[in-house]
Symmetry: C2
Subunit: 343 residues, 2 copies
DNA sequence: TTGAAAGCGCTAACAA
DNA sequence: TTGTTAGCGCTTTCAA
């Protein structure tokens, strides 16, 4: 049976109040009884009943994370890493992490609503923000604490962490233009996603400062999976006027694009250059290793978590907005020869 | 402010008891009041306070999942998919999923203990079982409900789902032996993991029925990451007596091994054959596509979740043990030529 | 068919 | 320094 403060109270012949206070470190308990109570509690293997505590204190020490999944085959390494970042930080700060997956849409907002109304979470981490983001509108409207990974278009009056996608893509553009390439194709992500626009602007601006513009036929939209990178690249590379560079908006699509090129017997890094975005662990060990933009996802997860908890605890009142400058990671998929150039 | 049954009671001029009963569908409430109460509740946007319910009912409608992470760069697509499988099923059955990450060891058991003692979860899903699994011993000892993905060595007297790793590796062995190869290297996983032994036995038995035995120098141990597949394969392939086949114990390591081969200008599928295990989504779109053994991880996640909830609800009392027969998926990494051979 | 009252395990205002 | 008491929101006996 579970041990309660009542059991402890009986054992040490004190009231439950005293036990509660001793255990919570109040200093209006004599140090003798305090020590006794703490010792007894330990011996009896006492752990407070979270629900009772929460019911009483009216907060939950839980943060919610509803992952937007588009398909059941949901296997983005990016999210595992983000999850670990959030989860580990949450554990450190004594918070629980309640995870749910939901496809974007009606059901998604409903899931948010349920968790809020049921008093189950103190706040949310919202990931993969959309330009028009119903989740964010909803949370702002309800004045419910949240921290977002990314901005949305119209209303950015809240706390978020974002990698500077504009800047990241500029780096790519500068680098590629510097290599003298002009026939550049791009596999973008869903235009609804906010970062798609950011990255696209960065790319466009970066290229146009070298008088390069993107041909419409060379702009394709993928869904961030390896398969869609593969499919799109295949079509691009089968053209008679095929591009010499493929810029993908994430690593998974870039890896798919490399496979497509190789399938057509093109050598990546020579016949066609490929770049990604994210720097997931496998990009370093792909063949060839992938040139990409590094986002410290694990760290970002931790930051988001910390930020959210501060908001919940009202330790910060103004909106915190962090913009990460990502770094370009040059590897062989863009022709770098020396395999020892890294680290 | 949150709406409680008290608010509803006041509004309809009934006691909170009646409201509670109406809302819970008891039939000792006049259908008139029942209808009125339900309507009012809806209008007021009532959602029950989960913690109050749980405190009262003494269960939590929450299942726990503590992911064993070895490093912060935790990016296994396999786990994202498993998580989605568990999470979606849990949502369907109106259960919450509480997720935590913890490195194997002391801290890990402590995390289990805390969730149990704090009355926070009704049961656990245990993943990546070890031969000697302290988590399982602990849960059995405490008679706490759980379902495991995989068995452990000594005590398998509990409910689990497992893919038949012995069988899966036999398929690989048969197939490779049938191609006439003899110089076979293998990159295994941590011997502590239960499936390592299973897969190794399957491989050994499958090969020995063709009079092939594994050389000790050709057996290497990796940590299931792409990097370790890469590193190990590099060493294997640099030998003067290099193997003509590399069998990796998961896809991530196999993908790393392919990169290593390609870095040494070996053609995968011709100069060296590579196989994996899992069939993560990216294996279909790697270059070359990877021959592997398919594990329906998403489905398994759902099954585990369902199984656990049945155990919690005491709908099943005997231990359920499901052994999946995985299927061999042959692709070009073992020399298949026709790229249209799939699907 | 309804309501009063107890209690799940805990915290905290107030009194002693 | 300690204990009494009320109450968080809900379910569930028991009585009316």
């Amino acid at each position: 049976m579970k041990v309660t403060i009542k059991d402890i109270a009986k054992k040490v012949n004190r009231s439950i109040t005293t036990v509660s206070r001793a255990l919570n470190g109040y200093d209006d308990v004599s140090s003798k009884t305090k020590a006794l109570i703490i010792k007894t509690a330990q011996e009896m293997g006492y752990t407070p009943n979270t629900f009772a505590q929460r019911l009483q204190k009216q907060f939950t020490d839980t943060i919610g994370l509803i992952l937007p999944t588009f398909s059941p085959r949901f296997a983005d390494p990016y999210f595992s890493e983000l999850l670990a970042g959030i989860g580990n930080k949450a554990a450190t700060l004594d918070y629980d992490l309640l995870v749910s997956t939901r496809a974007p849409g009606e059901q998604e907002i409903e899931a948010y609503r349920k968790l809020i109304e049921g008093g189950r979470v103190d706040g949310f981490i919202v990931v993969r923000t959309r330009k028009q983001d119903a989740r964010i509108d909803y949370l702002i409207d309800r004045e419910f604490p949240f921290a977002a990974f990314g901005r949305s278009e119209k209303n950015s009056d809240y706390s978020y962490v974002e990698e500077d996608g504009y800047y990241g893509m500029q780096l790519i553009a500068e680098y590629i233009a510097g290599l003298g390439h002009k026939d550049i194709a791009v596999i973008i992500s869903d235009p609804m996603l906010n970062f798609t626009g950011e990255r696209m602007s960065g790319l466009r601006d970066g290229l146009s400062s070298h008088n390069i513009s993107l041909k419409n036929e060379f702009i394709r939209t993928g869904d961030l999976t390896q398969k869609s990178g593969y499919d799109n690249a295949l079509e691009l590379l089968k053209r008679s006027d095929r591009p010499t560079v493929i810029i993908a908006f994430n690593d998974l699509m870039a890896l798919g694009a490399m496979s497509a090129a190789q399938e057509l017997s093109l050598e990546v890094g020579r016949d066609v250059l490929v770049t990604g975005f994210d720097d997931i662990p496998m990009s370093e060990h792909s063949h060839p290793p992938l040139t990409t933009v590094r986002q410290p996802v694990y760290t970002i997860g931790g930051m988001l978590c910390e930020m959210l908890i501060k908001i919940i605890k009202k330790e910060i009142t103004t909106h915190q907005q962090e913009l990460f400058k990502p770094a370009l990671v040059i590897r062989q998929s863009t022709g770098e020869v020396d395999s020892l150039s890294e680290e």
